[in-house]
Every structure is written in C-alpha cells, then in structure tokens.
C-alpha cells in the first residue's frame, strides 16, 4: 500500500515563525517528517531547537505559518486542538486542581460525550494501568510528583488517542523516578499500541526508549533514524556531538584512505571533499603498547575515573586531543599512567566521515 497507510503523522514543509518585523524567529524552518503507526518516536534536541513547537503544532495549540500536518492521512492543519484525536502529557502535567484523580482521568471521555458507564469503566481501566486505584478519590495536589505524572499519562491515554504527545514529561522527576518512568512509559506504549511522540533534551532518555529519533537543532531536523543509526552513523557534527561523547579529528584524503593531522592514515575511508572531519567514539578505540608498529602513537595526558570506566585523555603527535574510554579493571587502575607513550587502534568501519 501507499505510505499514507503506514504513517500516523506527516509534517510537510512546516514553518513556524514567531514575532514580526526585524524580530522574526523561525522556530521551525521547513521541517518535513513522517512518524509511523505504533512507533515510539522521540524529538531530541537542545532547548530552543523547535522540538516543542513541532509538538504544539501537532497538538493544535499553534498554527503553522506554512506547511501542512496530516494525521492518519487526513489534513488536520486547520483543526482546533479539541477536534484532533491527539492528547498531550504536559511538562507541567496541568492536572485540574479542582477535580479528583478519577475525574481528571475521565475528563476527556466526558467531553467527548461518552456514556457515563463507559467513562467509569475506562477510568477504572486507566487507574489500573498506571497502578493508582487507591488514589482514585484523592485531589491531585495530594499526590507525589511521580503519581501526578502517572495521572497525567492516564488522563491523556483514556480517550484512546491516535497519537500521544509527551512534552519533556520526565524532566521534573528525580533520577531514580525518571528511570522507573522510562520503563513504565515504554511498557504503556507497548501495551496500548498508541503512537508516542516524545520530546526530550536528554539524549540517554532518547536512546533507551525510542524506536526512532529525530534530532533537531536551530529549527531544522538534522537526522532521523534508529537510536543505533543516530549513535553510530551521525550525519553531521551537531548530531555526533549532541548524542554521546565523541572525538573529532580533521583529516584529508590521500591514496588508500584518510590522513589525520598527525600523519597516520586510516585505511578504507574515502571522501570527495578536500578536507573532512573524522569522528570516532571513545569506546571504539583500543590502547596498544607503544611499540605497536601500525598504531597511532599518542601520549597519555590525564585520566578521569568514572566508576565503571575510565576516560583516558591522549595527545597525538600533532597535539590533537583524543579521548579513549576503557573499562576500569578491578584494581581501579586503567592500565596506563599519565605521561605513558602508547599506541591507538580502531576499526575504520567504526569511524564516521563528516563532510560538514
């Protein structure tokens, strides 16, 4: 069949500009994106990158300056939020303070004009789903942050929307609770089969939870792909540096490979550009003895202990800095000392050539 039956949300050349005159800011600059049915899709980027704006356009709180938004093949660009089968979990939760937990959860169904019995039944199901049955008659102000978060989730899921939008919903929780909620969210998404669009600036959250990630910066979509794609095959410098830690090494093409600034040649990589940047993750580099003939010679400048692993900061012969991550051995020593001369090796396939 056509792509329309596969895609749940399609944004076509959407532009959103704020302000007027000389102060126009393009929060979204010609963004086109397709989010598939039943997918856990994450919009990832630093604050101000436009990810929340895109979410608000899908929810209908903002109208695009240009472009279209399709939901399940239907153009919803001009529909107000209360007529879109899309629900939002707000960053602030925005729970209704005058209603009980159960009334909050049933609110959307009631507004849809569902029969009283159905509202009660679905509310009970949702309370069970988020494990809040004992809290049904509490006021939301009597709940903890994590419980409020679950009420917000249940409230947004109760009308069984086609798409659930989540606007940095975990940012107000402490680390432990956040980890729990990440698992919980993933479980809810799998149990309900609803398409989730999740907005976050936390790259780790994005990598662990998503089926696919859209990385945004400066109002533009930089790269869309699976967490593994995004991590191992970043398309540009922004994506490479925003997700995880990485090393950037300037390189120039020579016969048989790319030559680094220190003179070493990485074989098997090519480019059409006169100069490029090679990016290689710290955990992809191995430390070998100084007398290893084929390795890139380096000097250890400092060691930073992180518990499970240790970051070894190295200087190449041209002064370029490289970070190597090694697992901390039982003794707590990384096996090298500051000032040691060593060799560095990595698989050319683990490196990525950035042409920007």
């Amino acid at each position: 069949m056509t792509a329309a039956t596969q895609s749940m949300i399609e944004a076509r050349h959407t532009v959103k500009a704020f302000g007027q005159g000389d102060h126009i800011v393009r929060a979204l600059d010609d963004v086109s994106i397709t989010i598939n049915k039943g997918e856990f899709f994450t919009l990832l980027g630093p604050s101000g990158c436009g990810k929340t704006t895109l979410l608000r356009l899908i929810a209908g709180f903002e109208m695009p300056t240009a472009g279209h938004i399709l939901l399940d093949g239907v153009d919803i660009t001009d529909l107000p939020p209360n007529r879109r089968p899309v629900n939002t979990v707000f960053q602030s939760y925005a729970l209704f303070p005058h209603l009980t937990v159960a009334q909050n959860i049933g609110f959307g169904l009631e507004m849809q004009g569902r029969p009283r019995a159905e509202v009660a039944k679905t509310t009970a199901e949702m309370l069970a789903l988020v494990k809040l049955e004992p809290m049904a008659n509490r006021k939301t102000s009597q709940l903890s942050g994590g419980q409020q978060q679950r009420v917000a989730l249940a409230r947004a899921l109760a009308p069984k929307p086609k798409v659930l939008l989540l606007d940095e919903p975990l940012s107000a929780l402490d680390l432990k609770l956040r980890k729990e909620m990440q698992v919980e969210l993933k479980r809810l998404q799998q149990e309900t089969g609803i398409t989730f669009v999740f907005v976050t600036h936390d790259q780790e959250e994005a990598l662990t939870m998503s089926d696919r990630i859209g990385v945004m910066s400066a109002g533009k979509l930089q790269q869309v792909g699976s967490p593994k794609d995004i991590y191992t095959r970043p398309v540009n410098r922004f994506v490479a540096s925003f997700i995880g830690e990485t090393n950037f090494l300037p390189a120039t093409p020579v016969a048989g490979g790319l030559q680094l600034g220190c003179g070493a040649v990485v074989e098997g990589l090519t480019t059409a550009k006169p100069s490029v940047t090679l990016t290689i993750r710290p955990e992809q580099i191995r430390i070998t003895p100084a007398d290893d003939a084929g390795a890139i010679p380096a000097t250890v400048t400092s060691l930073v202990y992180f518990g499970t692993d240790t970051h070894c900061h190295m200087a190449l012969s041209d002064g370029a800095e490289v970070v190597v991550r090694v697992q901390s051995p039982a003794s707590g020593e990384a096996g090298v000392r500051t000032g040691d001369s060593v060799g560095l090796r990595f698989q050319p396939a683990a490196a990525q050539v950035l042409e920007d």
């Binding site: 709180f61 209360n82 939002t88 602030s92």
Partner: protein
C-alpha cells in the same frame, strides 16, 4: 499522625493566637455586638411620641414589618408597601450582583491576562472611583441620566429620541447606580482569583476535547469560584442595605430597605419598627451568606468524603 509534642505545640500557638486577637475581639464586642443588642432590645419596645422609645414590651414593631392596621376598622392587613420595598431590595441587589459579575468577569480576565507591567495600570484605573466621595459620584450619575441631563440632551440633539427618556427615579436608575458603585468590588476579588489561575489548564482542557464553553464552565469557573463568591458577597451585602444610591437616583418613591429604616428613625418617628427592620435586614444578609458559604464548601466536602 501528630505526635504529643506537636499537639501541645498546636495548642500553645492557638492560645497565643487568641491572646493576639484580644484587641479585635474587644472592639467587636463594643462596636458591633453592643449596638446590635441595643437595636434588638429597641425592637421590642413602644415608639415614643417624638422619636426615641418608651419602655414597655410590645411586639407591634415586629408585626409592623409585614402587617399594618387598617385606618378605618383597625384590622391587621398585609402591608403591601413594605413587601414591595423588601422585594425591590432583594431584586435590585441580586440583579446588581449578577450584572457586576457579567461585566466584571471579562474585565478581571482582561486585566489578569495583560503583561505583568500593564496590570498595575489597569488595576489603578479600577480603583480611581474610590478616590471620590460616593455622594458626589452618585450625583454625577444623576446629572447624566436626569430628564434634562447629559444623556437626554445628547440623544435629543442627535435626534435619536424626541422626548426625554425617563430613567431617573426608577428601579432601573437605582440598578445602574448600584452597578456602577459596586463594580470594583466585584472586579478586584475576581482579578485576584484569575491571577492565580494556571493558564496552562486551558490548553489541557482544549486538548481533552472540551469546547470553549466547556472550558469556561468545567475548568475556569470552578477554579475561580472563591473569587466569584467573595465578589458576590462584597456586592450583594452592601447593595442590600444601600442608602445613598436609591435615595438620590430612586427619589422618594423607589425606596430600598436602607431608606425605609432611615424613614422610621426620622420622619416616621417609629424607632422600634426601624429597629425590627434593621434586624430583619441582618437576618436576610446572614441567610444569604450562609447559602453562599454552603455553596462554596460543597465541592470540598464531597471530595474529601
């Protein structure tokens, strides 16, 4: 569970609280309860010939609230005039409360949704009427709506009407005057409530399929209800006992309870009746307040139950 120490601490702070409020309690006893007792006692006495009271127990004053003696055969008949005064007072106060709410709510919403810097300016505008004496402001309204007043002169000159509108000395004039006078008392508590309202709840409402009307009915109004109740009390209570406005804009005929009470202590020379009417007004106000308070607490009780 509160520990014993905590309970003791709470008890101690309660004692300190009572001690601190002693001046207020003394003032209340001499300034409010004392005079009130005198009024209650007077309502059971006989009227003096030239005002004041004669000591002698009588229920005449209380009977006089609703009944009057027929001039010819001395039988008791229902005092239509009194009833119409009560009815007018309750009706005009209720209308004033409703109308000040209808006008005051959008006004308060407008002010509360302005940028922080502009709000002070709009609130300042609302409080300007308080700078001028009520009597002078009421005469100003009189000047506008009387037969040869500003409004009629303007409308006649424009040719909209060919005969002056008879607004002055009607119930409508009193209603207009009271609405003008009490509007700020409605706007200010409403503003305070709307100012605290979390505007993000509007988006949550729309997101959950509520129409604009449903968002107003199901989210905004219930949450700002304390402000609505405070504003309604601040308007309804003084409106019910209004004296200056009905006197000047209602003329001698469109009396409200306040004017009627004044009449008994003045020209009427029937202090006991004035006293019993005052107590009646107090009872009406208290009853209205109880209804309001019940209405205000209803949700809270249900949800905690």
């Amino acid at each position: 569970m509160a520990s014993e120490a905590e309970t003791r601490q709470v008890a101690a702070s309660t004692r300190a609280g009572w001690l601190l409020s002693t001046p207020a309690l003394v003032l209340l006893a001499f300034g409010a309860i004392g005079p009130l007792l005198i009024v209650v006692v007077y309502s059971f006495l006989l009227p003096g010939k030239y005002g004041n009271v004669e000591w002698g127990f009588s229920l005449d004053a209380w009977r006089g609230i609703l009944f009057t003696r027929d001039i010819f055969d001395d039988t008791l008949v229902l005092a239509d005039a009194h009833l119409s005064i009560f009815w007018r007072s309750v009706k005009l106060s209720t209308l004033t409360t409703l109308f000040t709410f209808a006008v005051g709510f959008p006004t308060a919403w407008f002010i509360a949704t302005r940028p922080q810097k502009q709000r002070a300016f709009w609130l300042f505008l609302i409080t300007i009427p308080f700078w001028t004496n009520l009597l002078i402001r009421t005469f100003a309204i009189n000047e506008i709506i009387r037969s040869e007043g500003l409004l009629n002169t303007l409308l006649l000159w424009l040719g909209v009407i060919d005969r002056p509108l008879e607004i002055i000395y009607t119930d409508f004039a009193v209603f207009v005057g009271m609405t003008y006078v009490y509007l700020p008392l409605m706007v200010l508590p409403l503003f305070a409530a709307i100012d605290r309202f979390d505007m993000r709840l509007l988006e949550a409402g729309y997101d959950l399929y509520a129409s604009r009307w449903q968002v107003l009915r199901r989210i905004i109004l219930p949450i700002v209800k304390p402000g609505i109740i405070a504003g309604s009390i601040l308007v309804f209570v003084p409106a019910l006992g209004a004296y200056v406005t009905p006197r000047i804009l209602g003329g001698g005929k469109q009396m409200m309870i306040g004017n009627f009470i004044e009449l008994q202590f003045g020209q009427g020379r029937n202090w006991p009746l004035g006293a019993s009417l005052s107590v009646t007004l107090l009872v009406i106000v208290t009853a209205a307040l109880l209804v309001y308070v019940r209405f205000a607490n209803r949700d809270r009780e249900v949800n905690h139950g």
